[in-house]
Subunit: 308 residues, 2 copies
């Protein structure tokens, strides 16, 4: 995909993005706001980098969709981020990672200047295997993710002698997204999904849904203080750091980076829920409709940037 | 102080508290809701213990008060918690710890059956000294705490060869308490207080106010990923665990413990702000007026308990 040249007539953004590959932003996409818990860790681990976050809120949730459809969505979102000059892509969505990561990687290698794609699942699996002492790992995830077997597969590919207990948590992501994470229903549900993991005496639990870190402390209390929780964000952030370093793409700036938000649905709704997920200032949110995805034009797409 | 016998005529609580010292609750007190970030860590590290949290919201804030007055308040709050059969007291308040801990400890040893009192400041100082590699430690705290020199003193008592940079953060606790932690003013203020610590190249920063963990991730981003943050809760929780173990007072129950809340001011306001600080379900809050403090009567003080 050709990257349009930086328009001289345009009012200049806060930093000339097109000049140097290292100074380009990292593109992060997700089906909605959940991936903001991943961005949140990226902002902490890589404070010098710029980020663009794209949430496909108009087509949320991805959980029940056909893998071929998810592949198409993922390519559309990736192209939108490349158009905004992303130097690396992060798939901060379990469903999209499971359905589309290999195809997306192939496509990025074929059609662009070799932009790397980093997804969830494998980083958590790696970290979980490294952390377990008993060889018993638990996974909490949406029913779709559990059914896909993505975590079991990723863990067993690293170490075949590990036992994986994957527990589906129906409705939990929706409860957290609605802001009901501390009500009685949530507590009952969380207690219920933790019980089999306590019984199985796992010593590491993968939070296999980007919404779950918001109830991380409740989970830690119910699972016990000796259980290590592994969330997508923390595990993935380190892998992004490695990918950038290997390619010589770390931003050389010593200043704090900028981050901005784009969503395909209601920008105001994104803003309202987003702060809770990001746990940092959010700033303005730009809307790009599904129809415009990948076909936007630089002049017409204002850069709404949040100073962190 | 005599502990009143468990009344047989009373409707039974969820667990007979008076029967066995190990099954008694841990009492935690603070000037308001800030100490809930400490309770939050205690709930995670000690999930089998029961807790009573007492927030002196009617007399909040403690920051500007006379040390002699704070000593009197601390003794009143401690006696209220002992009346509720606390087996250990936690002072989850920097101002009260600095002003009243020695006197409180003395009094508890003289007048009760040797109930231990654990306060903030020293646990963070210990952890910070253990974590630093460069010997340069930063402290972010309220102006009053910085002026008291409590953290400098505690750190230098452990290791005289360490440099301590204490930065007062005027108004930051109030901003966080008001729920404005992610607005532009906060970001500007946080950036300002982090600047001298970055310049001093500290590698450990003590969050010397119980409100600050709520902006922990923002602080981590602004201070850089290589700086270790030490908060009161995590550091203190370990010390409480040791104190209980040494005395043989760990709760032998394998069940998740219960926790309940009492405040001297508006219970509804406490509830509204409290959930954000506790990051767990809060449940009902009981009100005890300042006049009633330490003079309540078992029958008239219903136990409002939140199942966690």
């Amino acid at each position: 995909m050709p990257v349009p040249p930086h328009s001289a007539g345009q009012s200049p953004g806060p930093r000339p993005l097109a000049v140097e590959p290292r100074r380009r932003p990292i593109g992060v996409f997700d089906s909605g706001v959940g991936g903001l818990t991943v961005l949140h860790e990226l902002l902490v681990v890589l404070p010098g980098e710029d980020f663009i976050y794209l949430g496909d809120t108009a087509r949320f949730p991805y959980g029940e969709r056909d893998p071929a459809e998810l592949e198409r969505f993922a390519v559309e979102l990736a192209e939108e981020l490349l158009r905004r000059r992303a130097k690396l892509l992060v798939v901060a969505c379990n469903a999209a990672t499971a359905a589309a990561l290999p195809a997306l990687r192939r496509r990025m290698q074929e059609t662009t200047l070799g932009v790397d794609v980093v997804g969830v699942v494998r980083p958590e699996a790696l970290r979980a295997v490294a952390a377990t002492r008993t060889g018993r790992i638990g996974v909490l995830a949406t029913p779709t993710t559990v059914a896909s077997g993505a975590y079991d597969e990723a863990v067993l590919a690293i170490d075949a002698h590990v036992t994986v207990n994957s527990i589906p948590c129906p409705g939990l992501a929706a409860i957290i997204q609605d802001g009901r994470e501390f009500d009685d229903d949530t507590v009952a549900l969380v207690r219920e999904v933790c019980a089999p993991l306590r019984e199985a005496e796992v010593d590491v639990v993968i939070l296999g849904c980007t919404h779950y870190p918001l109830i991380g402390k409740m989970l830690q209390r119910m699972l016990g203080p000796d259980v290590t929780l592994v969330s997508s964000g923390a595990a993935l952030a380190r892998q992004v750091e490695h990918a950038l370093s290997t390619r010589g793409l770390r931003n050389p700036s010593s200043q704090e980076g900028e981050y901005s938000f784009v969503c395909t649905g209601d920008a105001e709704a994104f803003s309202a829920v987003g702060t809770r997920f990001l746990q940092m200032p959010l700033g303005p949110v730009e809307c790009v409709t599904v129809e415009q995805l990948g076909f936007g034009d630089d002049e017409s797409a204002p850069r709404l940037r949040a100073r962190s």
